[in-house]
């Protein structure tokens, strides 16, 4: 088997008393689209910065393409494409100037690697004389991705590339990432949006600096040991408290407009639950059985960790 593209071994890093990462270990094979899912402050950015050679770990080692992130940082910097959390674009430079600047400092030209970025760049090319500061969030994101790709990196680190971008652009962006996989680039991407997890080859669920689980998205969902009912009612706030009073419930979590109630496997007490809620004077009660999502798994893992 080929050597893995990214190897992280027991990395810890703290900022003063705050532990950002605690003994994190994982491997990413070449050409994989690897996702880091976790809420803000889980330690995703710290991990990305360590792998991009911008931060030193307190303990542990990590290699990218076989190169040590501490000792061989100069060599790694030639190999990686990095898109930091904030889009690192020069707002007073035009789209084309931004791109050609990043091409130049990495010792290449737009023309040379045009093939790699053309699917993405074509969408923003009509605006190439526009200043980056005047672009929409989605276009900025595409430009930043082009800039990170322009030197044909072997590994691509994307730190929350879809944060602050509209839903349509987010979907388009993930399609692009899937297409990039064909160029055999290893892609590590982080996101706070659970729904994006299913688009990765494998995901790591991370919380408070610790990795809770690493698996294929479908396996994570398949490993969910409970059954879920989605419950809606006219009075959402009271609904959550009233649900807690129902016997045999495993957990209750709010998911947008619905409450997800988990039960141990067996018969789902749909009718009993409905009666319980009507007795508590709830109107328009809707109950349906649903399949677990990554977010349900994440909540479940979080509850057991705590």
């Amino acid at each position: 088997m080929e050597n893995p593209s990214i190897v992280v071994d027991n990395i810890s890093r703290s900022y003063g008393p705050v532990k950002a990462l605690e003994q994190v270990s994982f491997e990413v094979p070449k050409g994989e689209l690897f996702g880091f899912i976790g809420p803000d402050g889980a330690g995703k950015t710290t991990l990305f910065r360590i792998l991009a050679t911008l931060l030193l770990p307190d303990t542990g080692t990590a290699t990218v393409e076989g190169l040590d992130v501490v000792k061989d940082f100069r060599k790694i910097r030639k190999l990686l494409g990095y898109m930091p959390g904030k889009f690192s674009l020069y707002m007073d430079l035009s789209v084309e100037e931004n791109l050609s600047f990043y091409a130049t400092i990495f010792g290449t030209t737009i023309r040379e690697n045009y093939d790699l970025i053309k699917d993405i760049y074509r969408q923003i090319e009509p605006f190439k004389t526009r200043r980056a500061g005047k672009l929409s969030g989605g276009m900025k994101q595409k430009l930043a991705l082009c800039c990170a790709l322009i030197h044909k990196p072997a590994v691509l680190f994307l730190d929350e590339p879809t944060t602050g971008v509209d839903a349509v652009s987010r979907m388009e962006f993930w399609e692009m990432l899937r297409r990039l996989k064909e160029s055999n680039i290893t892609i590590m991407v982080s996101t706070p949006y659970m729904d994006e997890a299913s688009l990765c080859d494998r995901v790591a669920l991370i919380q408070d600096g610790k990795i809770m689980k690493i698996s294929k998205p479908e396996e994570i969902v398949a490993g969910f040991r409970h059954q879920i009912l989605a419950v809606r009612s006219g009075r959402f706030f009271e609904l959550l408290t009233d649900l807690h009073g129902f016997p045999g419930i495993h957990s209750v979590n709010a998911f947008g407009q619905a409450a997800h109630v988990t039960f141990d496997k067996g018969v789902l007490p749909v009718e009993a639950l409905r009666k319980h809620l009507v007795a508590a004077r709830h109107e328009d009660v809707m109950i349906e059985e649903i399949n677990p999502t990554i977010e349900d798994c994440f909540m479940e893992l979080m509850n057991t960790e705590n």
Partner: protein
């Protein structure tokens, strides 16, 4: 090398797209020089005076005429008695009052001396001092010219103000403004442009790029070296053509010293930016730590020799002081390298020290 030029070109884009900065860069030297040259001046013209003449004879009238025709004074009013002096000063317009004693000509004839009093409004001590000196100078000149045959022996000192015969303030301001502006442009602008990248997050990408720290630093500095150099030429040119400040010494040497000073200021700017992370802090440090000392402690306005010892020691740690000494020497006295090599050496050492610290402090990583 191509990477590096690409980086420098990007820096120029930043500068030329930010028209406000450009305006400051090229407008400020001209405006400041004109302000200092025309407005802030120690020379006095058309000061308003009042005269209380108690004798009103031929001699007092002659003296009054002399004083008023000198170009320095304009008669605000004639006073009728001594008591009017107080209210006149209080009105504020009159800066000087001339009082002739009674029987002036007669006394002068008979006793060889007469009473004349010059009162200055010392609420502005510098102006009062200068006005009083002008007035007494005019009066004694007159008396000498009248009594020329009566006085058997006399010593008339012939005063000449070497290097600045007209005692023009602008001779002092041109070097001062150069020191101040070049410091401002170089240190402030570079420190701002580096911290801006840190704030925007683009520094993260520059760091992970194959660009070396030294390339990033030099790339940031080059555009400002050029701009600051153009600025120093503007100041020198305006000083010379508009205000007639001479350039007695070697022009090449002068420009070289300017370049050295610019480099020194730039390395200071890099030093500031390498120890700060936000534009706000960089700006505050640049302004507080650079502007005020440059103005107050460099000998630009206040002579270093008159300061308390502690401040004098501090002055010697201020790079602008050496630069001002150097350009005054070259421009006004026409001195060559043999006179200013010490100061030049001091500036070079400052530069080297700043650069060494910055390189040591520059982080190849975040935090």
């Amino acid at each position: 090398m191509k990477r590096f030029t690409g980086f420098v070109i990007k820096e120029f884009y930043h500068i030329f797209r930010d028209y406000r900065t450009l305006l400051i860069l090229f407008g400020m030297p001209a405006v400041q020089l004109l302000l200092f040259g025309y407005v802030v001046t120690n020379e006095i013209k058309d000061a308003r005076i009042a005269i209380y003449d108690a004798s009103k004879d031929e001699v007092t009238r002659k003296i009054s005429e002399k004083v008023l025709s000198s170009g320095y004074f304009i008669l605000e009013k004639n006073l009728k008695n001594y008591a009017e002096i107080g209210p006149t000063f209080r009105e504020g317009k009159t800066k000087l009052v001339l009082v002739f004693g009674s029987n002036f000509a007669e006394k002068l004839q008979r006793e060889g001396k007469a009473d004349i009093q010059i009162l200055g409004d010392a609420s502005d001590p510098n102006t009062a001092n200068i006005l009083v000196n002008y007035a007494s100078g005019i009066i004694s000149n007159y008396l000498i010219s009248v009594n020329i045959e009566k006085v058997p022996m006399r010593i008339i000192p012939e005063v000449r103000m070497q290097y600045n015969p007209g005692l023009k303030g602008v001779f002092m301001f041109v070097p001062g403004i150069m020191a101040m502006l070049l410091m401002l442009i170089s240190a402030l602008m570079t420190s701002l442009s580096i911290t801006r990248e840190k704030e925007l997050g683009t520094m993260e990408l520059l760091l992970v790029s194959p660009l070396r720290p030294i390339q990033i630093i030099i790339g940031k500095v080059i555009p400002y070296v050029l701009l600051a150099f153009i600025d120093s030429c503007i100041i020198l040119g305006m000083g010379n053509f508009v205000f007639g400040v001479p350039i007695q010494g070697n022009l090449i040497l002068l420009l070289f010293e300017c370049l050295l000073y610019i480099t020194m200021a730039l390395s200071l700017g890099i030093l500031i930016s390498s120890i700060t992370s936000s534009q706000q802090i960089a700006m505050t440090i640049s302004l507080m730590a650079l502007m005020l000392p440059t103005i107050l402690l460099s000998g630009f306005i206040f002579p270093v020799e008159n300061m308390p010892v502690i401040l004098q020691v501090l002055c010697h740690a201020m790079p602008p002081k050496y630069f001002i000494t150097i350009i005054k020497d070259i421009m006004l006295k026409g001195n060559g390298v043999s006179f200013i090599w010490k100061e030049t050496l001091v500036m070079m050492s400052f530069t080297v020290i700043f650069i060494l610290i910055s390189i040591k402090k520059f982080k190849v990583r975040l935090a």
